[in-house]
């Protein structure tokens, strides 16, 4: 049971904040004189929706980024630049593209050398475009729209997958899981939220599933937010699909799952793609609902020692180990590597270095980094399943930590 003190822990840490607050305070307009360092810091601006409906993912993204920055600094900073430390500038996009873009201007004036953000693709698009004017390297930590890397901008990079690749991976994984069980599933119903994230991904999934003999018999769009899913549940129930595929944000994800259970809707599996609400917290809070639900998402490699260590650290800090944490972490790693190999903060050099990055991210189930037009093609999304209170990778088999329970039984 949670104690009141537990509930306050994370926020107290944020408020007192240790390194992060003093660093941020110093980088704000207050110009507190800092002790002369051996080398000038490399400034990285973080732009996230710290206030507004996406405040929680934003907090997780900041946390992961700041953890990476602290680790890199502890290990000696950017050695090719005389051990220059990384310094974070914190920005709040307030979920609005115009504010995100304004933050870019602000950070540019503050002499930022790289930027990271923004969780929402709309904000990421506006912010990275603003950054492009000054050629500031921009690392997308979370933002699935493929438009982000299709504009021909040489300053935008993304370590994790966009929905194009994720859809393809999701279909492949489902095909594999289905085949291993003797191909019992044939029909799919997609339930998606109405904006670009849900609609775009749903379209891609419909196409991607075809070669795997899985037919999307219905696509149900719902608004953001949706107050109740009873009708949708009934609609699904009468259509009797083998697979239900939710593509939506956390609140609706959980609500839909609960409603499907309440209405006793039967299906072989709930197989979500970029399921916003599928994470350790979901499995903790609603174990009976979560049991055997499958999601395809950014996920860490539980077989890696560094991944396990990062998870332990995060949970010791009173936080859930959600994908935002490691996506932000590896995005900082990308930037740091870019500075390291460029040996300078000159944007052309850094962008060129980022474009040829080959970092190996041990805690992710990725191949070696290979940037194609700013998109890392060594990335992949994996299929994860809640099994007996924990989350296991069930596909692709190379990274699987457990066999899939499919049909869910």
């Amino acid at each position: 049971m949670t104690k009141i003190s537990d509930l306050f822990t994370s926020s107290r840490r944020r408020f007192i904040g240790g390194a992060s607050a003093t660093v941020a305070l110093a980088s704000s307009g207050l110009a507190i004189p800092t002790i002369a360092k051996a080398a000038k810091p490399v400034k990285i601006g973080l732009i996230h929706p710290a206030t507004g409906w996406a405040a929680y993912p934003a907090a997780q993204l900041r946390y992961g980024a700041l953890m990476a920055i602290a680790d890199i600094n502890k290990a000696g900073g950017i050695k090719s630049m005389g051990g220059a430390p990384l310094e974070a500038l914190l920005g709040d996009s307030q979920t609005k593209p115009e504010i995100g873009a304004a933050e870019v201007e602000k950070m540019n004036e503050a002499g930022v050398h790289a930027l990271q953000g923004c969780y929402q693709s709309a904000v990421g698009l506006a912010a990275s475009a603003a950054a492009a004017k000054y050629n500031i390297p921009f690392s997308i930590d979370v933002g699935v729209s493929d438009k982000l890397v299709q504009r021909g901008l040489s300053n935008v990079f993304r370590m994790a997958d966009g929905y194009g690749r994720i859809a393809r991976d999701a279909a492949t994984n489902l095909g594999e899981i289905n085949k291993m069980a003797g191909s019992p599933a044939k029909s799919v119903i997609i339930v998606h939220e109405e904006s670009e994230f849900g609609t775009g991904t749903a379209k891609l999934m419909t196409e991607a599933l075809k070669p795997h003999n899985l037919e999307v018999i219905d696509t149900i769009k719902h608004s953001n937010p949706t107050r109740n899913f009873d009708n949708i549940a009934l609609r699904i129930k009468s259509a009797k699909p083998d697979i239900v595929m939710p593509i939506n944000y956390p609140g609706e994800y959980v609500l839909l799952a609960k409603t499907l259970r309440q209405q006793r809707v039967d299906f072989m599996a709930s197989y979500s793609v970029l399921g916003g609400g599928f994470n350790f917290k979901f499995v903790d809070d609603l174990p009976q609902i979560a049991e055997n639900m499958i999601d395809v998402n950014h996920w860490y490699n539980p077989a890696s020692a560094s991944g396990q260590a990062m998870r332990k650290r995060t949970e010791a800090d009173g936080k859930y180990f959600t994908f935002e944490v490691y996506c932000a972490y590896m995005s900082i790693m990308l930037l740091a590597d870019g500075f390291e190999r460029a040996g300078t903060t000159d944007s052309d050099a850094v962008n060129a270095a980022l474009a040829t990055s080959e970092i190996d991210v041990d805690f992710m189930p990725y191949d070696k980094t290979k940037m194609v037009n700013g998109q890392n093609t060594g990335s992949r999304a994996v299929a994860i399943q809640a099994q007996k209170g924990d989350v296991q990778i069930i596909a692709p088999s190379k990274y699987a930590s457990s066999k899939a329970v499919f049909p869910r039984g």
Binding site: L25, A55, A102, A122, L125, A126
Partner: protein, 348 residues
């Protein structure tokens, strides 16, 4: 002018000296803002000013209907969104450049104002009822925009980055600064015109007591519809500005309730029914937001301070910030406002 019963219709411009003072202030302000970019090399400050001008502009549109005509609206964003979609669809589907599209956006806003105004005012809606029906219209449009193909539905519309004057896109903040400044100047001109014109006096009469105004022979329906059409026209252009600056549009952005609220917020805080109220309000609120965020990093904490300051301002300056600058009679509040409140509470 005349005194009728308890009501004193305001003079168009209250005395020569006040008028001249305003013009001098205006002239100085105009010069300062025009040359500002040469002195302000900090692009962030330019961007902040641009956003402030934009907010002041769209606040002024609300002011025309809400401050001058006394009809509060909660759905002002509908003109913004419709204008944005109009010019963007014309661009993406028909290749019509935004420099022409913006006029279509203005027209679309005005037409929407005509439709909503006619339906609502004809039905005799006033006060909170009118405010709420505008909200309903805005929500209606948002839901529709989500479901219709030509608006891109929930996916939205993407614009390509192609800076040029005909695209109303600029590769430096300076370009958008002047764009928003021009819009702001137009809105201030409209407000000044309103204060000096017969039409403005009619709106003021409607604001103070609509029934009395009708009895005086003013065609209140027509005047209110004109007012909402002006608001709509202005809102439409704002939509095009936004679309060209941020290059992406979807229903939650185009029809966001937050923008409807912001319009009325900056105007009421700055001073309703004044020429510079929305600008002052936009400036002060934006500065408060920026400064609190600068000093307080923790998400939420800075906004709490912002909320407290907001309540503070409105409690101690009930006529808005412009109340600090103007004498009581000049501010369209003061004694007239109390009279209105008393009358209103009587038939409440």
């Amino acid at each position: 002018m005349t005194v009728i019963g308890k009501l004193k219709l305001p003079k168009a411009a209250n005395g020569k000296s006040a008028g001249r003072k305003s013009m001098i202030f205006l002239l100085i302000a105009a010069v300062v803002t025009l040359v500002a970019p040469t002195f302000i090399t900090n692009k962030f400050y330019l961007d902040v000013l641009t956003l402030i001008f934009f907010t002041a502009y769209i606040g002024q549109s609300w002011n025309i209907l809400g401050g001058y005509a006394g009809q509060f609206s909660f759905g002002g964003v509908m003109f913004f969104g419709t204008g944005a979609y109009t010019s963007t669809i014309l661009l993406t589907t028909f290749g019509i450049p935004p420099i022409i599209g913006i006029f279509a956006a203005v027209a679309a806003g005005a037409i929407l104002g005509l439709i909503v105004g006619y339906m609502s005012f004809r039905a005799g809606l006033r006060g909170s009822y009118f405010a709420l029906i505008t909200l309903a219209f805005a929500e209606l449009l948002r839901v529709l925009a989500n479901s219709v193909e030509f608006t891109g539905g929930g996916v939205g519309l993407f614009l390509t980055y192609a800076p040029s004057l005909k695209n109303l896109q600029f590769d430096t903040p300076t370009g958008f600064y002047y764009f928003s400044l021009i819009l702001l100047a137009i809105s201030i001109a409209v407000a000044i015109w309103l204060e000096r014109s017969r039409f403005g006096a009619q709106l003021a009469a409607i604001r103070e007591n609509e029934d009395a105004a009708e009895a005086l022979g003013i065609d209140t329906l027509r005047c209110k519809i004109y007012a909402i059409m002006i608001m709509g026209a202005m809102g439409g252009a704002a939509g095009t500005f936004y679309a060209q600056k941020y290059l992406y549009l979807d229903p939650p952005i185009a029809y966001s309730i937050a923008l409807s609220v912001e319009m009325l917020l900056v105007t009421i805080v700055g001073g309703m029914g004044t020429v510079f109220g929305p600008l002052v309000g936009a400036f002060v609120l934006h500065m408060v937001n920026e400064i609190t965020r600068n000093f307080i990093d923790t998400p939420g904490l800075s906004m709490i301070v912002y909320g407290v300051i907001l309540i503070f301002i409105i409690s101690y300056l009930p006529n808005g910030l412009m109340g600090l600058f103007r004498k009581r009679q000049d501010v369209l509040g003061g004694s007239l406002e109390t009279t209105k409140n008393e009358l209103e509470s009587k038939d409440a």
